[in-house]
């Protein structure tokens, strides 16, 4: 009965989403407090019932109830308990249920923590959340119902795709969804503001934490997804420009722009149109990502066209929400009162530059992702747009942006002089140049671009800390006063610095691993060794091992490092029994920030084994940088003060100049 009650709870959640779509909106229109209050209460109810449905599905997975078609298709009684639970969202139906669960969760969060939001705005926001929820509940119930039953129930399930049986999958999709869906809140705020026709700094003050929260989860989700692909797929790559990855990266790029734009709006009431438009586009890109990943259009446009039910439904949702919100934007945006004015060279100006580059970069990735689909649909030819395209389009777009990262925060609001800001960064530029020279010297000057890249990374990393450095007066004031100034700095400033620093760290990792990576592939018999980057890898033989739902052959490797120490690595080839599917389990050893990565190829008839070994210098910085970014976001999120951007005055006094230097 639990299965059917779960199903019923899901249907009730849909019914509540309909109420939430209409009643608070009508309340806001009629000025009726009671009807507006229904929004908060019902969004809590919707979350409770979606949670019940999700719990019921989870319980069916845990108890291997194969009378649910979804459980039968994606689970197996011998699967380890952890993967029984993560299997709930390791498939289409379950992951859509998780999607709406998170959507309902964010709606409920707005209801719970939004007591300081004007009632009318809150009612409109919740109503828009209700529309999104209703559309997706209907999608689940009509095309992807996880509670579809099987009778008679089979005795054994089909098992989960082995590639997905991994701890990475346990956390990374929920993180991504928290990010994707989190942007629904900023979208709802934007639409609600356009409905009521009022957008001001106070509005931005409520939007910023939501944009930041969503961005945090999306950043963490993408980083985890990247690490998961890195160690689980066994190819040693950390980013593939794969459409599924791009689907999460595009919202991240636009969301990053939104984050900066919302900040400007809160501080200066400028960039209103930007902020509204970015809020719409960010969530639209999240929806597009959901469509790309969930409709099956990526596997084959034609398979999608033959079984279009799901895809067409999501496409309709896409058109409804993107088209609807953009139409509303076209009608209402001209009515928005223009915000604070600013000169081109100012903090606002720098952030417009940032927005332009980030959205252009997002558009580039979008084109590269959709182009193969369009070509396949029109001509039937299967092409793929890979790393070369993105390297020559996306890369150059990032360079000016990265160069600007340390400068922007040093500019003052409204109007600024470039020179004093640059003056404060002279020594940073000097360090970056030093890094370039050292790299050139150490690598005998071979890849010039690589040393420039490393210089850029150093520039971003150290430059990000420059603001804190100068504000604290390090090297100018006494140690005690420096410390008190450091602790007195607003946490949002630490957040900015850490976030930008993380960006530099990622860049450093990306540049070093792309240029200085070493690879060695050899077919070895037991007793033979291969060498890479000073490490000697000796193959000692294969051992068969039986796991809970797989059997594997483990290669016993003994690795000698350059200084003579020895450690063991055990990469393996696994076969999952239920699906008869082989996977490669790479062995990874982290040494400092670098990694030794070994995966196995085929075993030949005479017992020889193909071993692929990579030396990946500073590769972990890619994910460590992401950790810095997330940490920066979290610190900024804890800073609940209003952000006021104090403009530099046009009229000059001696005292004013000193203040300007510090502001």
């Amino acid at each position: 009965m639990i299965n059917e009650l779960g199903h019923f709870a899901l249907v009730l959640a849909f019914a509540l989403s309909l109420v939430q779509s209409v009643v608070p909106l009508a309340g806001a229109r009629l000025g009726n407090q009671k009807l507006m209050a229904v929004g908060s209460s019902v969004s809590t109810g919707m979350f409770v019932f979606t949670l019940l449905a999700f719990a019921s599905l989870t319980s069916a997975y845990v108890t291997s109830d194969f009378s649910l078609e979804n459980v039968w298709a994606n689970s197996h009684s011998a699967k380890p308990m952890l993967y029984k639970v993560t299997g709930v969202w390791g498939n289409h139906e379950g992951s859509m249920l998780l999607w709406v669960l998170i959507l309902a969760f964010f709606g409920a969060l707005v209801a719970w923590f939004g007591s300081n939001i004007p009632a009318q705005l809150k009612a409109n926001v919740l109503a828009v959340q209700g529309w999104i929820a209703a559309a997706f509940f209907l999608f689940i119930l009509l095309t992807s119902n996880p509670f579809a039953r099987l009778s008679p129930a089979p005795f054994e399930g089909n098992d989960l795709n082995p590639v997905l049986q991994d701890i990475g999958l346990a956390i990374h999709p929920p993180m991504l969804y928290l990010g994707y869906v989190g942007f629904s809140v900023t979208f709802s705020f934007a639409v609600a503001a356009m409905i009521s026709g009022r957008i001001d700094a106070a509005w931005a003050r409520w939007v910023r934490p939501w944009a930041l929260t969503a961005w945090l989860f999306l950043t963490a989700g993408i980083a985890m997804g990247s690490y998961w692909a890195y160690y689980e797929l066994g190819w040693g790559g950390w980013w593939f420009w794969d459409p599924v990855e791009n689907a999460s990266f595009i919202p991240w790029l636009v969301g990053t722009a939104l984050l900066h734009s919302a900040l400007v709006m809160e501080k200066r009431e400028a960039l209103k149109i930007w902020t509204i438009l970015l809020a719409i586009i960010t969530f639209s890109m999240s929806l597009l990502g959901t469509f790309l990943v969930r409709s099956g259009v990526l596997t084959s446009v034609h398979a999608f066209a033959n079984d279009p039910e799901r895809g067409v439904f999501i496409l309709m949702i896409l058109m409804l929400f993107i088209g609807g919100s953009l139409t509303l934007f076209a009608v209402r945006a001209p009515l928005l009162k223009a915000g604070g004015l600013f000169q081109p060279i100012s903090r606002e100006g720098a952030l417009v530059f940032n927005n332009v580059f980030l959205t252009t970069a997002a558009a580039t990735v979008l084109v590269g992702t959709l182009y193969p689909l369009v070509v396949e649909a029109l001509s039937g030819a299967k092409i793929s747009v890979g790393a070369p395209f993105f390297n020559i389009t996306f890369g150059p777009l990032m360079i000016p942006l990265l160069m600007l990262v340390p400068i922007g925060p040093l500019l003052s609001w409204k109007r600024a002089d470039l020179y004093p800001a640059l003056q404060r960064l002279f020594w940073v530029a000097g360090l970056a140049l030093l890094a370039v020279i050292v790299t050139l010297a150490l690598t005998s000057g071979e890849p010039v671009l690589a040393s420039l890249g490393i210089g850029l990374a150093v520039w971003v990393m150290i430059g990000s800390l420059a603001e804190i450095w100068t504000r604290a007066g390090i090297g100018k004031a006494s140690a005690a006063s420096t410390f008190s100034r450091l602790t007195g700095l607003p946490r949002s400033m630490w957040g900015t610095a850490l976030g930008h620093f993380g960006l530099g760290v990622i860049l450093l990792g990306v540049v070093t691993v792309s240029v200085f990576e070493q690879e060695s592939v050899a077919e070895v018999a037991p007793g033979e060794t291969i060498g890479i980057a000073g490490y000697e890898i000796a193959f000692q033989g294969m051992t068969p091992v039986t796991g809970p739902n797989y059997t594997e052959t483990v290669a016993n490797l003994s690795v000698t490092n350059p200084s003579g120490g020895v450690f063991a690595l055990k990469p393996a080839k696994r076969v999952y029994q239920a699906r008869g599917m082989p996977t490669t389990e790479a062995a990874i050893r982290t040494i400092g920030f670098s990694q030794l990565y070994i995966s196995l190829g085929d075993v030949s008839a005479d017992g020889k084994l193909v071993i692929r070994a990579w030396w990946k210098p500073l590769v972990t910085l890619i994910w460590i940088g992401a950790i810095f970014m997330v940490a920066g976001g979290m610190i900024s999120l804890t800073d609940r003060r209003l952000r006021v951007g104090i403009a530099r005055r046009a009229r000059r006094t001696v005292a004013g100049k000193q203040a300007d230097a510090l502001s």
Binding site: M1, L5, F8, D65, L642, V644, I646, R649, A655
Partner: protein
């Protein structure tokens, strides 16, 4: 029923989320200007704080505060006075909201739900199906053994019929094919392989199966299984007259006790009807269609009771009219099927006593008595078509 009670509770719970604010929230006019003022005060405090810690000088702070004040004035001018709420319309909307929850939920659920269907947790199901569990385990062990020793004819021979009974026809065919490969002289092996192939094909006697049945007949002319399926094949090819001939041949060669007899007669009649030949002259008042249907819907125990009562009826009728030889045959067979050999023997003796002048009948009954004495019990003779295949073949 319990489901609908629980569902109703859930519905009430859901409706409460809509109802509570309608009753609990007090209508109070919210003044949007107040919120603007609150924002203004908070921002002003931030600026004053910056001034206090020395981040900005007094002049800048004053200018910034003046800017905030201008924003406040603009905001207050923009916000219009709230209109009086329309109570009637509000009530209609509230009512519609509350009613829509159960209506939408029940309508959608009835569209896609299965309210009667219980959960089927694997742990609970394993308890119920200990026996099938055991068989599966044994099969798995046999499979493992055969994987290691694929030339064990005996193993394949044991496993093949087990597969058939589990409905794993493809594996059964594979197993018989292995027996044929390893020991082509095994009696009935070709017929058994062909039978599995027929089951795989959903009851259709394929060309390959026909070939195998004919090969079987070359060495083992008496194979009832081969003759049964070849007759069926004729029917499936639409050559009903030839089919009737073959069925008659098969029926005349077997006794009423052959397990395939019922099926053969049914097929014979079907073919005869299609060929336009008169039905077989045998007149046998068997169970009516309703009785058969009823029996199918009963539990095993109830079915046994029903059969027992029908057997008792037949026995009673024969007491009154002991000359009904067909009746005696059926009674004896029924007792054998029910496992009551003593009653079968007694009935056969009574039948002989009552019809002593009918030599053929007496001979048949005596042979049955001889079999009963020889075996003590009466398992179906080996090499006869199994009942599943017989019923599967109805799908022509």
């Amino acid at each position: 029923m319990t489901f609908w009670i629980a569902a109703a509770l859930l519905m009430i719970f859901a409706a409460l989320f809509v109802l509570t604010p309608l009753f609990a929230v007090r209508e109070k006019a919210e003044n949007p200007v107040e919120l603007d003022k609150a924002v203004y005060r908070a921002r002003k405090a931030e600026i004053e704080n910056d001034l206090a810690i020395g981040r900005i000088d007094g002049e800048t702070a004053r200018a910034a505060i003046a800017e905030e004040s201008r924003k406040l004035i603009a905001a207050v001018e923009q916000s219009s006075g709230s209109s009086l709420p329309s109570l009637a319309l509000s009530r209609v909307i509230a009512l519609a909201g509350v009613i829509s929850v159960p209506v939408v939920a029940v309508a959608l659920y009835l569209h896609s739900g299965n309210p009667q269907m219980p959960d089927q947790r694997l742990a609970a199901r394993q308890g119920e199906n200990l026996e099938s569990q055991r068989i599966e385990e044994l099969v798995a062990r046999a499979e493992a053994h055969l994987a290691a020793k694929p030339d064990d004819v005996r193993g394949w021979q044991v496993l093949a019929p087990v597969y058939s009974r589990m409905g794993r026809d493809r594996e059964s065919a594979q197993a018989w094919a292995n027996v044929l490969r390893l020991s082509p002289q095994t009696p009935e092996v070709r017929a058994n392989l062909a039978e599995s192939l027929v089951a795989v094909a959903g009851g259709v006697v394929t060309e390959e199966a026909s070939r195998l049945f004919n090969e079987e007949l070359e060495t083992n002319e008496a194979s009832a299984k081969a003759r049964f399926y070849l007759a069926m094949a004729k029917g499936q090819e639409g050559r009903h007259e030839e089919a009737v001939e073959r069925w008659d041949e098969l029926i005349s060669g077997g006794s009423d006790l052959s397990p395939w007899m019922e099926a053969a007669r049914t097929f014979r009649e079907e073919s005869a009807r299609l060929a336009g030949i008169a039905p077989a002259p045998i007149d046998k008042p068997g169970p009516t269609a309703e009785q058969v249907e009823e029996a199918a819907s009963l539990s095993a125990q109830e079915r046994n009771e029903m059969i027992s009562s029908m057997v008792a009826n037949l026995a009673g009728r024969l007491e009154e009219d002991p000359s009904d030889r067909e009746g005696w045959k059926r009674l004896v067979r029924a007792y054998i099927v029910l496992g009551n050999n003593d009653a079968a023997r007694a009935s056969a003796e009574k039948a002989i006593a009552a019809n002593a002048q009918e030599a053929a009948f007496v001979a048949e009954m005596k042979s049955v008595l001889g079999q009963l004495q020889a075996e003590g019990s009466s398992p179906p003779p080996a090499g006869e078509p199994s009942s599943e295949a017989g019923s599967g073949s109805n799908a022509q």
